[in-house]
Symmetry: C2
Subunit: 340 residues, 2 copies
Amino acid sequence: MNDHEVFELGNVVLQEGDTLREAKLAYKTFGSLNEDKSNAIVYPTWYSGRHWENEWLIGGGMALDPSEYFIIIPNMLGNGLSSSPSNTPPPYDRSRFSNITVYDNVGVQHRLVAEHFGIEKLALVTGWSMGAGQTYQWAVSHPEMVERILPFCGSARTSLHNIVFLEGVKAALTADDAWKGGWYKEQPTKGLRAMARVYAGWGFSQAFYWDEVYKEKLGFSSLEDFLVGFWEGFFLDDRDANNLLTMLWTWQNGDIGRTPGFDGDYERALASITAKAIVMPAEKDLYFPPEDEEYAVKYMSGTDAKLRVIPGVWGHFAGGGLNLEDIEFIDATLKELLAS
Amino acid sequence: MNDHEVFELGNVVLQEGDTLREAKLAYKTFGSLNEDKSNAIVYPTWYSGRHWENEWLIGGGMALDPSEYFIIIPNMLGNGLSSSPSNTPPPYDRSRFSNITVYDNVGVQHRLVAEHFGIEKLALVTGWSMGAGQTYQWAVSHPEMVERILPFCGSARTSLHNIVFLEGVKAALTADDAWKGGWYKEQPTKGLRAMARVYAGWGFSQAFYWDEVYKEKLGFSSLEDFLVGFWEGFFLDDRDANNLLTMLWTWQNGDIGRTPGFDGDYERALASITAKAIVMPAEKDLYFPPEDEEYAVKYMSGTDAKLRVIPGVWGHFAGGGLNLEDIEFIDATLKELLAS
């Protein structure tokens, strides 16, 4: 799990005004950069995800084939590997860690790509969920660099309903007195487990539960077994409470319209995208519903953006790499986009 | 708010085996019972609802017109007016209050209707949400009595996804240490507020938030104003934590298939319904989705059940009496059913 590199960013002035001192961007690469540096792909992580949790979409014969592409997975700020509440020294640690925007994340990723690797063009940016949000942000922040984007199960602006869903997640985590306003010595596990149970209803669709797909496809023996084994296990897997709250703030405040120069105008920011785009929501995603992406595509007048809905009952986790059919669907669409 | 009657039930043996001692059923009636006792309607309450929160559907010129019908609103066990953790004396109080099923609720309501009022036929049973669950249960427990049912935004069996949604609600409430396993001296308000925030994303649809309907139609000035004023206010409005957990258990365990004689067979219980039925889910209800009721209607072979979807963006709260269009839609459908 420590098979990654760290890019030292120095002091980074953030969009909200704070300075992230001696900031670090943890990343992992796959494959080799070719001579004309034309084969690079950026594939950012998602809410609480670490680079190794992105690897299911990379492999020989797949769209993201390391024998063909140079694939960079940058870890999102706050995820515990890049600069985060959990790994930043005092006085900027824990509850004092700064608010980070999606724009900030893409800013430091751009420095890695441009300064460190000397890359001027990206063949593709792609990502799931908050990774999709970063994908959109790349296309808006650096239109001259990004040739293609494929954001899946995510959005360019966090919808009001999505913000409310996250308020519930946050309230459950912070209802635990053991959280202590972020100054805990041990993880507030009751709050993390509560958060997991709140998340469980949102992550998969109503039909996923109706069909008991967690038994047949994921090998859990009962609903409770799934809630404990999958969901509570997920949030107890070395996911620090303050880190989760940092990334939650990033998510709630995601909006390409807040990119400098767009003055909060979401639709104008969408229209500025020139990268070839396939936008891919999942049919039954409860917090990134397809209609939101339909709206986005309508405003992406600077390119011939296509909407492609991932069918099926997996909801948001259609993009989570757990279901072979969904993996194949995403992979095939990535191949189509890369070939264009 | 105390303008109700109390029916003394004596000791009630519950479906799970406990005895509810000196049990009380609080209810309110509207209108008068006619001579042949043919004009009675039962209209049970919903999760955390009290009889006065049902009254929006009753009025002159409406389907539930007190000049025409004798309308009985029985308060659900656990709602703080009927026998509940908050009003039962030791040793059966608070965390020791018994688990109550939907079947138990209908059992005591039946005693009120039959023993106290001497009613043998009900022109209609109708209700929202858990009130819809009780409506279905009436039709299964007492097919000889119930002429018509109109369950809206609810189900005859709580779906697995709905159970998971409620697990999130429960986990948020009980994450607050002030809950003390139910032995609090003061309400665990942090947990109640957390529960409210979790509920907020479920109660209304994604589109309701996208369109900011809470501003235009409900008069809130911002999303946060709505979360505090509507949602937190809702759960802080004299809704006791143990009562909420009692009703939550009732909800999670709702299933007409568990009616004695059906041996857990949901579909067979549906087929036993003989009452004329219009089943009315809301288009964008996130925890009682229309497809679940489509499934139910398919199995209601003992009657000519109709599915009628309430259109619009209000989600579950289409049945909450907050939106004039939805009220009119429900009222018109009730008139149609009562005329048949």
